[in-house]
Subunit: 214 residues, 2 copies
DNA sequence: CTAGCATGTTACCTACGGTAACTGGAGTCT
DNA sequence: AGACTCCAGTTACCGTAGGTAACATGCTAG
């Protein structure tokens, strides 16, 4: 039969692909986002052209590699987002899930968040990054959807939700990036501070003596 | 006299440096962040090694180039931050100043915000980026200072201010990046939506029918 | 006139992303 | 069995990038 043979080949190819991705993962974890195709190929015990047959170009490998971690992170975020609890608790759980993830694997985080970006539009080999728009956008859209589904924001709610989705994700990201570098406080404190910000403490704070506040 | 001669040379070198930076600016504006050293040298009418003598390596040139725009942006932000107006107006003015800047010169924005990041710690030529920690950090620290100076946040105010500074800057950045790509609404609407988010509308919003809200 | 110094050049090195062309072995058809 | 077709894998190469060494030129000082 022909189809079983094709299936076998497909399965074998998929297994190989997974092996390659795992090797790539190891190298990226060790060498950071600048890992070279040669290094990855060597770690996998093979040579460059195979990588290119499997993934097209470096962007393709990046996309495949990113998708694994992205999916994992998005799943944990979705879980926190969908937990049966009050809104504030859920926001805190989501922030904490994100921060815990980047704390646990900073190298992976750096790889996902700071990909080498593409060159000028005229350059050769510019098809990189066409797939897998950055993780931040995905998270922003996802959060926007959740907000729009669950909150009553009155007129213009869809646009408002999208702005907020991307804004909140950006807040989480930037604060997390800074926190990961300096570790100025515990994760729990960071979560509380961010949630407080989202909860309007900026508007509610009193002015310092000596002039109007920020 | 010796010192006047040295001064002359110094001045001449500085002028040359400025010329080179202006040429680099033009190229980066035209070719995006991936502009090559060769292209920059060609635009300046000279050859590569001169660039390297002036700036050390590509990171050095990047840093020098970034500093100009960074200073300009920070100044306009400071102006908005220090304007004599109510807090909400000032927040909106600051958001708007940032968004207007990135809207006016998206190429510069991309160059500043998405620099090609450094490779692995073991690689040669890793001294890149030692100078000029990314603009986002600077803005975050600056905003944190303003917040701490002007708001009365009770105990732990310093840490809270820093978290908020970086968080708000990140929110602004991510929302701006997304907005610049999709242009889903006017700048004014975006500013209003973000200010609303900062003003606690997330906490105040009602749940949608059908379950507890986000 | 020569010594020193900054400025500039050409020519080169290394490393990377990416590709073309060949090799070897497994299965298939007659 | 032997020829045919795939397909993973290889070597060897290309173009371009960042970065550097070694040589040329011109100015001012003594």
């Amino acid at each position: 039969m022909e189809s079983t043979q094709q299936n076998d080949q497909q399965r074998s190819a998929d297994r190989r692909r997974r092996e390659l991705l795992e090797a790539a993962d190891r190298v990226v974890l060790r060498d950071g986002p600048g890992a070279s195709m040669n290094a990855i190929a060597a770690e996998a015990g093979i040579t460059k052209p195979i990588l290119y047959r499997h993934f097209g170009d470096k962007g393709g490998l990046y996309a495949a590699l990113a998708k694994r971690h992205t999916d994992a992170l998005l799943n944990s975020l979705r879980a926190a987002l969908d937990a049966p609890a009050e809104r504030r608790e859920r926001v805190e759980a989501t922030l904490d899930a994100y921060l815990a993830a980047i704390e646990a694997r900073p190298q992976v985080y750096r790889f996902l968040m700071h990909p080498a970006d593409a060159g000028s539009p005229g350059d050769p080999g510019f098809d990189v990054g066409k797939h897998s728009l950055p993780l931040l956008r995905l998270m922003g859209e996802e959060l926007a959807q959740v907000i729009e589904d669950r909150l009553d924001l009155g007129p213009g709610s869809q646009q408002l939700a999208r702005v907020w989705g991307h804004g909140i994700v950006g807040m989480m990201h930037a604060a997390g990036d800074w926190w990961l570098g300096e570790r100025p406080c515990s994760r729990a404190e960071l979560v509380r501070s961010l949630a407080d910000l989202l909860w309007g403490r900026l508007a509610a704070a009193g002015d310092r003596i000596g002039g109007p506040g920020f």
